[in-house]
Symmetry: C2
Subunit: 472 residues, 2 copies
């Protein structure tokens, strides 16, 4: 089970930059509030935009596992490559799962050593990235016939995914004729929307984006599960880990509920101590991209101009990703000596899946202390040293510890942060499930791309941004 | 030539969150100051820790190109794989150059389509990452005999690189016996230090980390040039771009000197408008990892507790990397509605090296606006729409525009930020070239790893961090 160590967030350790331990007393206001919020979340559990909390429990779990496995079985042996097309919540989780649970050399391995097809998640509309991957699949990768496209879009109208889809549909049709539909698995709305209509018309295999599950809370739905299962990731264990964490996150004691506690620490340090930058710094390269997933969850859920009463609050915290030990040589100078405006969250791994020992015999005195030690010893000593150095500079920090990296613990991690986000939304009194500020950019894009009905947006953009000066 | 468009940093555009245009008048204080700082930088140019400014100019340039090319020539045809071992300034730039200038599919391409060996930059001591890459090279990758290791460490005592080196030295010796030295090219101090001694003893090919060039200013020295040249990157053009930018960055007019201007914008917005988070958001996947290189430069150079007079200032800004369009679906909600504490720097590309067109013929009304357009059109429309949306929310932002992505423009970009960092250091009156806060963590690591003479550090760490409570 993951543990959360937050001693370094307390005033005992980091002076006035930390929280008073009295805040955690059984009779304290935060403890009482946490109890009330837990009760409130129990009431809304499985309703409205809180339906993501149903994902790791039957009957939703059983239904999704069944549908995903059926789709995976139908694809087995047919593909050398899988290209996931999606963006934001339809890509960040998929990338994070691959990175955490498949080896870094996965795509290079011969097919006999790989549990699934080579996997590319294209989460952008960069013509070079897209073109190179597509060209590679079409030639050296074994051909488009042997390439599966996993298109993920609830509505089908997200411009990036729509453009990607239109391109691959065209090249697949040219390469394969009418049989091309067998190379597409779409994850989309089960009953309505543009992508649904296209899927019905063209006969793609589809999997559901469940109702009431927002993009950034969807990684443990078929959105993330299909591509993970295709690569041999144990999706049952992933959901099992989430369910285990869910049980812990229903406890009404602040000190025993890791999601409530994590939210409380970050919101309290953010709002009362000015720690508005929330760094996530895994000491494990494979967990680094989980930080991108976390960035979306934390930024888009909590970054809100108005609270639920309509008052302007400019809420939110800036999530920052960092990597240990690498960023000790890049960011720690700033973290220790720059503005004291951060909380640093470490991820630590007790036992890695692969160990490397540092050999004896170099015969250089200055390096003899490394001889015979494991790389894990060094990595975790560096982490502990950094933690200590931050405490010495009164910089609050905490550690989430993985006993091992596996699907179950990654499931726990995802769940911990998703529930913590719900708590943080309630603590800040903002709507954690909307993203109103994204609309204007979408409309402006439509305008600039010449979509009918958006001409006025183009005029406004052009008149706002046009200048002949202030360029060098 | 790169252009810098900063109209959206001005009060005309973003109200009180922007800078007054009067600041840029020829007689204004900042303009006068910039002139004085330019004169000051001309005086220190090529001395002390400003010796990195010599890199793109002869005789240093010619000497480095000669040495690097000789080393590359000696390696030509002998290797299927290259593993770069380094950390911080000995890795971030190398990774950024590969990512910007080699295709994303580079390592997957057959050797006939690749100008150099497959390339892995290992910038961590993660046993899984390290073990998997080493195992892969030893087996499926063609064997350790066909694997070149580029070890980069000025002193040889950086624990991470030392550990990596000790491991690969051992496996190479076991695989190849005494001939193993031919598989190592070390970039290190030309005359002293632990790695220098090892190189001399064991007969490795070496290239210099030049004196007076700090790690984060070293990418355009052999530190970055060797691995780049091995992959067919035009290092002459890279340095040529840097030299071109250098000429622009010597101009004494604030408005005509892009480095002085960039530094002024960020320091002024940071110190007078509370914009302390400095986001770099390329709209090009290949440029994304340049943001990691920038993060080190900006954080480690400017994040300082005391200024040059010894006064406590907690200077510095938090560099944040983001990616367009991806992070429109992740961070832009926060950037528009959260705390107004950021400056967003976009990177925009006029013409990509590869284009993809969105085909006609889908026959879906809601998506017809995309038909026949290029992916670049969509990408750059999204960027412009985001820029507009930020302006609407009074969030200052600027754009650095690449006409194309190539070695010359990447060289310009690197140089622009390096000189801007010098200016920013002077503007903040801090030492941009030291990193005093990194020492404590290094000593604590030595203590925890049992290095002789550091026992007291271990005791202090343990007594500071030991707790039995505050864990869940």
């Amino acid at each position: 089970m993951l543990t959360l160590d937050y001693a370094n967030c307390l005033a005992d350790r980091v002076g006035s930059h930390g929280l008073d331990t009295a805040l955690f007393d059984p009779a304290s206001q935060p403890t009482q509030t946490a109890r009330a919020l837990t009760a409130s979340l129990e009431k809304t559990r499985g309703t409205g935009w809180e339906r993501w909390r149903l994902l790791p429990h039957d009957p939703v779990k059983a239904d999704h596992l069944h549908q995903v496995r059926r789709a995976v079985d139908a694809c087995r042996g047919r593909f050398d490559n899988m290209v996931v097309l999606g963006i934001g919540g339809s890509a960040l989780g998929n990338i994070a799962l691959q990175s955490a649970l498949s080896p870094v050399t996965y795509n290079l391995l011969p097919s006999s050593s790989r549990p699934g097809p080579r996997t590319f998640v294209i989460d952008n509309v960069d013509p070079e990235q897209f073109g190179h991957i597509l060209d590679w699949c079409a030639s050296a990768g074994g051909g488009l016939q042997r390439t599966l496209f996993n298109v993920i879009s609830k509505s089908g109208e997200t411009a990036e995914t729509a453009a990607q889809f239109m391109i691959i549909r065209d090249v697949l049709r040219k390469a394969m004729g009418s049989g091309y539909a067998g190379n597409i698995v779409a994850v989309t709305d089960p009953s309505r929307g543009t992508m649904r209509q296209i899927c019905d018309r063209e006969g793609f295999t589809t999997l559901p984006v469940p109702d009431g599950v927002g993009g950034r809370f969807s990684v443990l739905s078929p959105v993330g599960l299909f591509s993970a299962a295709m690569c041999g990731i144990d999706i049952d264990a992933l959901l099992g880990g989430a369910a285990e964490m869910d049980a812990r996150c229903r406890r009404d004691s602040l000190l025993e509920n890791p999601a409530a506690l994590l939210a409380f620490l970050l919101v309290e340090l953010g709002t009362t101590k000015g720690k508005t930058n929330h760094v996530l710094m895994p000491y494990a390269s494979s967990l680094y991209l989980l930080a991108d997933w976390y960035r979306q969850l934390w930024a888009e859920s909590l970054g809100k101009r108005v609270d639920k009463t309509g008052e302007t609050v400019f809420a939110g915290f800036t999530p920052v990703k960092a990597l240990g030990t690498t960023d000790q040589h890049s960011q720690v100078q700033l973290y220790r000596e720059g503005p004291n405006d951060k909380v640093i969250g470490f991820l630590e791994v007790h036992k890695f899946r692969h160990e490397v020992s540092i050999p004896t015999g170099l015969g250089v005195e200055a390096l003899s202390y490394l001889e015979g030690r494991s790389m894990t010893d060094l990595l975790n000593a560096e982490k502990r040293a950094t933690e200590y150095a931050l405490v010495e500079s009164q910089r609050p920090n905490f550690t989430i510890k993985f006993p091992v990296i596996d699907a179950a613990h990654v499931g726990q991690f995802i769940w911990l942060w998703q529930v913590a986000t719900s708590y943080a939304g309630l603590m800040l009194n903002i709507d954690a499930y909307d993203q109103p500020a994204v609309e204007l950019g979408k409309q402006a894009t439509f305008g600039l791309m010449g979509r009918k009905g958006y001409e006025e947006h183009k005029r406004t953009v052009d008149s706002t941004l046009t200048t002949t000066r202030w360029r060098t």
